[in-house]
Symmetry: C2
Subunit: 230 residues, 2 copies
DNA sequence: CCTTATAGTGTCATTTCGACACAAAATTAA
DNA sequence: TTAATTTTGTGTCGAAATGACACTATAAGG
């Protein structure tokens, strides 16, 4: 018999923090999953996550687990929903605060810490542990909502990117197609992009222009209040 | 010494569900608070809420506590954020899943169950217990975001209401002023309002037209996908 | 009875949105 | 090598939406 040394007058649920990690490879959105090494759901794929310690908030827990299990240090870890169905974990009552993180996919491709971590696109998802399929669906919904208020795309793209890449990202997240020319002018009007280097030729070329996200301009824009319409 | 009969191998936080209840009296937004009868923060005002039982989800808990403490049975109870700062409760580690509810203010004015419940507007708020002032600020932010996607106003207004009332509600929530005439045409174009009865006079009168929210029309609109712009 | 405040409606200029065509350079195929 | 194709960047133009604004009628208040 194990020693049960933490005792309470009333029953307490366990609390975990899980982390849905989104990446973008230039074409489609990916999710980072970890293959479980222990029961329950041994060998099934799941989101990084773990039990909340008594000296950390759930956000801190999510960041810690993210780092421990994937080596990632992402600033943009944000909770989006708390899943509390009574039987969502077969071991005991576990309530999980689900977070999402947006990372540049290059930061984790060298899987040193992340021996059992792997990127999946949505059309090749393996069966997930626990209720993680539901968590993923909710995460996607929240991301879609958020992209209309904040240019979260720039956390998914490399430092320097092209306009077609940015459009692909928006199309992949929202699941729609945009007119390329209208997307260009809309983005240019926001004035949150800085052109990097010179355009290769005089007027137009097939080599795309490189851009960088301009956080200063974005802060100004956000202060004025705005809405990204798509 | 009390009997501590629920024991675990690892420490578990307590989990509560709190409920920020919004109402609207035709002029300004109100919050329903309950005066605490016990320590800690005895006699301070707080949101209805309580500990999550092992056989209920946090949403069920929020609805149950809401009913037990105010007599309200509101369908629109929705979680919006989980607060997990380590020392937010002096008794023990308590993580709370915060919800908000939108209710018609008339449903609770007869305070039978709610002896210690009282509506407050934002400019006359008493000091709140725990971190409930922070919870309220976050709740307000979430409500503002949501009103742009769903016509939540109708859960706050009586069954039958006037256009000026509806505009006052939007202005109170978003904290801005709209041009009355533009607001009218924008609302009329949505086609989610049904006129109730006849207009008093031939062309214009000072007696406002009564409207009712049309859930069928709204469902159609929502299926098409839409955005309330303000 | 007169003044004031509020309710309803429509106009019009400006801006935005969304469909669309063209030219230049790189890639691919022949 | 040459021609066809793909990709990138930019501008136009009509339709639709936005936002400022004026007028009339009636109820309320003094």
């Amino acid at each position: 018999m194990e020693d049960l040394k933490y005792c309470y007058k009333y029953p307490h649920p366990a609390v975990t923090a899980d982390c849905v990690i989104f990446g973008f490879d230039g074409v489609s959105i990916k999710v980072l999953l970890i293959q479980r090494g222990i029961e329950p759901y041994k060998d099934r794929w799941a989101f990084p996550g773990g039990f909340v310690r008594m000296d950390e908030s759930v956000e801190e827990c999510a960041k810690r687990e993210l780092f421990e299990e994937t080596g990632l240090k992402s600033a943009s870890v944000e909770q989006f929903y708390t899943f509390s169905d009574v039987n969502r974990d077969p071991r005991e009552r576990v309530i999980t605060v689900a977070h999402y993180a947006l990372v540049k996919i290059s930061e984790v491709c060298g899987g040193d810490d992340a021996a059992r971590a792997q990127w999946f696109s949505f059309d090749e998802l393996p069966p997930l542990a626990f209720d993680h399929d539901r968590i993923l669906r909710v995460a996607l919904t929240k991301i879609k909502e958020r992209i209309c208020f904040e240019p979260i795309g720039f956390e998914l793209l490399p430092e320097v990117f092209t306009m077609p890449e940015l459009q692909n990202l928006y199309e992949a997240i929202l699941g729609v197609k945009f007119d390329r020319r209208n997307f260009y002018s809309k983005m240019r009007k926001l004035e949150i992009l800085t052109q990097v280097g010179e355009r290769p030729a005089g007027t137009s070329s097939r080599i795309p222009i490189l851009y960088r996200f301009n956080p200063t301009k974005y802060a100004e824009l956000k202060n004025r209040g705005f809405r990204l319409e798509f």
